[in-house]
């Protein structure tokens, strides 16, 4: 016998939907064919609400709420698409482009990049804020992989997959705000990391060309993320 499931009913973009009480607005929206753009979310990883692309309006709240970490409530009236939200999502992605050096044309992930695809799907044809052109490092000390901070969007998928799935916790954050970086171990070169198992999960969950395999030319890096929900499912089945 499965335990009693508590059901909540709510509205998303005017559509009546039913959900389990432990579900997030994002899960329920996607189950019902309502797409909310995301960048940091990845099926199979814990959510952190880092990218803010999934912000939605909830009636009665004067704040925008990230759909990936907001649980459904009875009678909620959620707006996932409005001119205001579309315009906020656009400027968020534009700011991501301006904050680092994403040069799509020469990127190994050109054509297979979630940031690039997101810009296209939001109809972004140019970036309205000035580019910051920061001077950032590329760490190629690992035998098989490269971390290029120029293309990192700080989604923290690498940090989470390494901690939650691989159990190594090689990756973490360092610094705050615009100075934030992902680091390996205690901010040591990746090649010197004692904790890294070399599994490559971080590379394949990375949405951009920040974490890539060595030896790839422009447009050649395709990520394989199918393993993640499968791994999670298998582990749940064993518990």
């Amino acid at each position: 016998m499965s335990p009693a499931v508590e059901i909540k009913t709510l509205q998303i973009d005017g559509k009546d939907v039913g959900a389990r009480a432990d579900q997030t607005i994002l899960e329920v929206a996607r189950e019902n064919g309502i797409d909310i753009p995301t960048l940091c979310h990845l099926d199979g990883l814990g959510d952190v609400g880092a990218c803010r692309l999934c912000l939605v309006e909830v009636k009665g709240s004067n704040k925008l709420l990230p759909a990936c970490v907001t649980r459904v409530q009875e009678g909620m009236e959620v707006t996932a698409h409005s001119p205001r939200l579309e315009s906020l999502r656009k400027i968020i992605v534009e700011m991501l482009f301006s904050e680092r050096n994403h040069v799509c044309s020469v990127c190994v992930s050109n054509g297979h990049c979630e940031l690039q695809a997101l810009a296209a799907s939001l109809g972004i044809t140019h970036v309205r804020v000035p580019y910051l052109n920061p001077k950032l490092q590329v760490d190629a000390t690992n035998r098989r992989f490269v971390i290029d901070h120029n293309r990192c969007v700080l989604c923290s998928r690498c940090v989470r997959v390494c901690d939650e799935i691989e159990g190594a916790h090689t990756w973490d954050h360092f610094g705050r705000g615009i100075d934030c970086r992902v680091i390996t171990d205690l901010n040591q070169p990746w090649g010197n990391s004692d904790s890294c198992t070399g599994c490559g999960k971080c590379v394949h969950v990375c949405p951009t060309g920040a974490l890539v395999e060595k030896g790839r030319a422009a447009g050649e890096m395709r990520k394989r993320q199918q393993f993640l929900p499968y791994l999670t499912l298998m582990r749940e089945g064993r518990q």
Binding site: T125, H126, K135
Partner: protein, 177 residues
């Protein structure tokens, strides 16, 4: 109906956008019935004309000469179009932006040169501190991203402009290739 006066300009880019323009092939003949190409790297004319309806610029804004040209072009163009990623984002020319200009010149003309190692002071225009997207200096009316933008995107944009409509490029072209 009088023909629309079109100009194309090549700034700091690889000419790939112009190649993509030429790649419209036989459709260029149809376009030619509606447009007059009054200034272009493909046309032998030295000075930018007084009145142009649509100017498409390829390339980033990289030198003092580019800046001077751009302001002149803006003044004489009704509609200014950023053609391709260099004009839209600074793209590859902008990859020098995280280094100071003098170290870029030193790298290019001294460290990597085998003959006549010297930084040019004459003829070659002075570089701006950073290569910029055009819209960081002047008002740009339309953006066609892409490296290069697909010939269909350029064709669509021009066809819409000829028909007197404002093209919506958001579903026709995107950053990168």
């Amino acid at each position: 109906m009088s023909k629309i006066r079109i100009a194309t300009v090549w700034m700091d880019g690889c000419s790939g956008c112009h190649m993509s323009f030429l790649d419209m092939d036989e459709r260029l003949l149809e376009l030619a019935e509606h447009i007059d190409l009054v200034y272009s790297p493909l046309v032998d004319l030295k000075d930018f004309p007084q009145e142009v309806d649509v100017t498409l610029i390829e390339g980033a804004l990289s030198s003092e000469e580019d800046m001077e040209k751009l302001h002149k072009i803006r003044k004489h163009s009704k509609l200014l179009v950023s053609l391709g990623d260099c004009a839209v984002t600074a793209n590859v020319p902008g990859m020098r932006n995280s280094f100071p200009v003098d170290s870029v010149l030193k790298r290019g003309y001294l460290e990597n040169a085998t003959l006549n190692q010297q930084i040019p002071l004459q003829v070659i225009p002075k570089l701006l501190p950073r290569a910029l997207p055009l819209h960081e200096a002047v008002k740009v009316d339309l953006f066609i991203p892409g490296c290069p933008p697909h010939r269909d995107a350029i064709h669509y944009a021009l066809s819409e402009l000829i028909a007197g409509r404002v093209p919506d490029l958001s579903t026709h072209s995107h950053f990168g290739a």
